[in-house]
């Protein structure tokens, strides 16, 4: 671990000089084998030895170090040299085996960019066929959604997997209805209200649906009302989790209809009564109170009153959440 350049979350431990020496000796043969393999593969790369033999060597090296992006590049150059000499079935066989390889690496290293990249390249290289069909492409892409769901089951916040999911959905030869993605995010959210990645994805999916279908304002409002119900469940379940509050803020937006704003303020006030120390609750109330004060229909007298109300809420936040008191001071000005 000593020579590592970037490590995360591994507990430090002290070892005696003797133990360190023993470890070094034990490691020595591994280091020698690794360096010999590395020298062999980089030598083949220099001499542009794009053979199946070299391909096998890159697998051995990547098994030991899947972050070695230069070797992934070399591997693709080998495949690009081999492909024109092969029939489509053989190309598909190569790609299948590379996808299997990256799957096995991703299960151990779910956050390594280079492995995800190689996977994308494989999928984009799938030829048309068999015959006149595009069955290969369809099959390959269908498998990707299953993989990414598995990855998100293992870590529901892995942003590589979420980004990859968006990429796969955009690339599917037969597009799925966007409402399927709403169902998916809903299931993720309901199993854990704290999954902000899923809430975020929901904002993008809803916006995409509304844009694609040119949804009329009244219908957007109906959908949003249902969303308010969903997020209200989250807020009441754990008012100290910011994920739901962020989503709520997105739903309210910058110019909400007056009835919606008033209704939401009332709902949050109900929660505030039960949870008087929830900073997120106070924060939302303060922000929405300011929004209400900006509404055209609000009278000058009410505006002053609302500003005072918001000001008092920010003062309260300075006590409840002193780490951010300077922010609240500025907001309440």
């Amino acid at each position: 671990m000593v020579g590592q350049l970037s490590v995360h979350g591994i507990k430090r431990s002290r070892i005696t000089p003797q133990a360190a020496e023993a470890k070094k000796l034990k490691e020595q043969s591994k280091i020698e084998a690794y360096l010999a393999l590395e020298a062999d593969v980089l030598g083949r790369k220099r001499s542009k030895d794009h053979t199946t033999d070299s391909l096998g060597q890159t697998t051995k090296l990547l098994d030991l170090n899947p972050e070695f992006y230069t070797i992934w590049n070399f591997r693709r150059n080998i495949l690009l040299t081999l492909f024109p000499t092969l029939i489509s079935d053989e190309v598909v066989a190569h790609l299948t085996s590379d996808l299997r390889l990256t799957t096995s690496y991703l299960l151990v290293h779910p956050k390594v960019y280079w492995i995800w990249n190689h996977r994308k390249w494989c999928l984009e290289s799938v030829p048309d066929g068999p015959g006149e069909s595009v069955k290969w492409k369809e099959e390959f892409w269908k498998g990707e959604l299953k993989l990414v769901e598995k990855m998100l089951d293992a870590d529901s916040r892995n942003f590589h997997a979420w980004d990859y999911r968006r990429y796969v959905l955009a690339s599917l030869p037969v597009q799925r209805p966007l409402t399927d993605e709403l169902k998916y995010t809903q299931s993720k959210i309901e199993s854990n209200f704290s999954n902000f990645s899923a809430w975020h994805c929901r904002t993008k999916t809803l916006a995409a649906i509304w844009e694609k279908e040119q949804t009329p304002e009244a219908e957007i409002r109906r959908t949003k009302d249902q969303e308010f119900e969903l997020v209200t469940q989250a807020l009441w379940t754990d008012p100290n989790d910011q994920s739901g509050w962020l989503y709520h803020r997105w739903l309210v937006g910058s110019e909400p209809p007056l009835e919606v704003l008033n209704r939401e303020i009332k709902n949050i006030k109900d929660l505030y009564e039960v949870e008087p120390d929830s900073k997120w609750c106070i924060n939302a109330l303060a922000h929405y109170t300011l929004l209400l004060g900006q509404d055209q229909s609000t009278t000058q007298v009410d505006k002053a009153k609302l500003r005072k109300e918001a000001h008092d809420l920010y003062r309260r936040l300075e006590d409840v959440d002193p780490d951010r008191k300077n922010r609240y001071q500025e907001m309440g000005m």
């Binding site: 020579g3 590592q4 430090r12 230069t70 916040r157 904002t203 993008k204």
Partner: protein, 338 residues
Amino acid sequence: MATASSSSSSDVKLDTALHIKYIQNLDKRQDLAYHLTSHLRLNGIYWGLTAAHIMGQPNTLDREGVIEYVLSCWDDEAGAFGPHPGHDGHVLATLSGIQIMLMEDAIDRIDVGRVTQFLLDRINDDGSVSGDTWGEIDTRFTYICLSSLSLLGKLDQIPQQKRDSIIEYIRKCKNFDGGFGRVPGAESHSGQVWVCTAALSILDRQDLIDVPLLGAWLSERQLPNGGLNGRPEKLEDVCYSWWCLASISIIGKLSWINRDKLINFILGAQDLEDGGIADRPGDWVDVFHTIFGLAGLSLLGYPGLEDIDPVYCMPAKLIDKLVLRKPYAALERMSSYP
């Protein structure tokens, strides 16, 4: 095997001498992990050298050795730097190479013309930027490309139309929470927030940042233990002391977090026996967290440190000398702490 003692009490000081020694020893213990991370080697030297500059000891590493090593990483086929001899050129290593050569005052020893061309070739028509000819897209690469060109004094070589598309692309990566993601549609993440706010700064388009909204989001990254996280409801990590802090410094809202709590968190993540800083107290240290912990401490005004520029993550003195300084605000340097 005893678990290392963590140092979290508030009277802990920054052990500069120990961290300098740690940086000098980075190349001495060549265990397997060392060889397995050769794809980060040039970045590692940039991290170590910048850390040494922040601690006021720019001559910590052997200058000629460092320069020779950078030159040995040149990928002549690509016209860019790789992270280690024999590795492929990539923007990630190229920025580190440029930064190291500037800090060592040896930029005239690289082929600026070819590097510039490599960087310009990375900009796609839609304003996205790739990391190399394989075409991976990420706002990290947008920043790297702009930062590199700017450091080389070649920013004006980007055609106006492409400059506009880059700005438009960054706008598409902006989310309702004020943050930015890797690509359009991606969730806000502090690392991507930094690269996008710094990229907009380099392009003099800070006006596209929603300061109160992003400032609030960034300030909420601080957890009760003082550390910062990268996204809502995630764990703290010393490296976010850079990604979040540099961003919030660029938008002038550093006072929106609790300075002393963060300082104590970073100090608590030091290894006070062998030097270096870890992701959080008690974990293994590495040079990546060492630089970003120190850079964070510098922005927070920790006594005795040199100023760091939050847009370029390089010594502020050097950036000022190159006349590249953009608007930002660091906290005043304290004469003592606590």
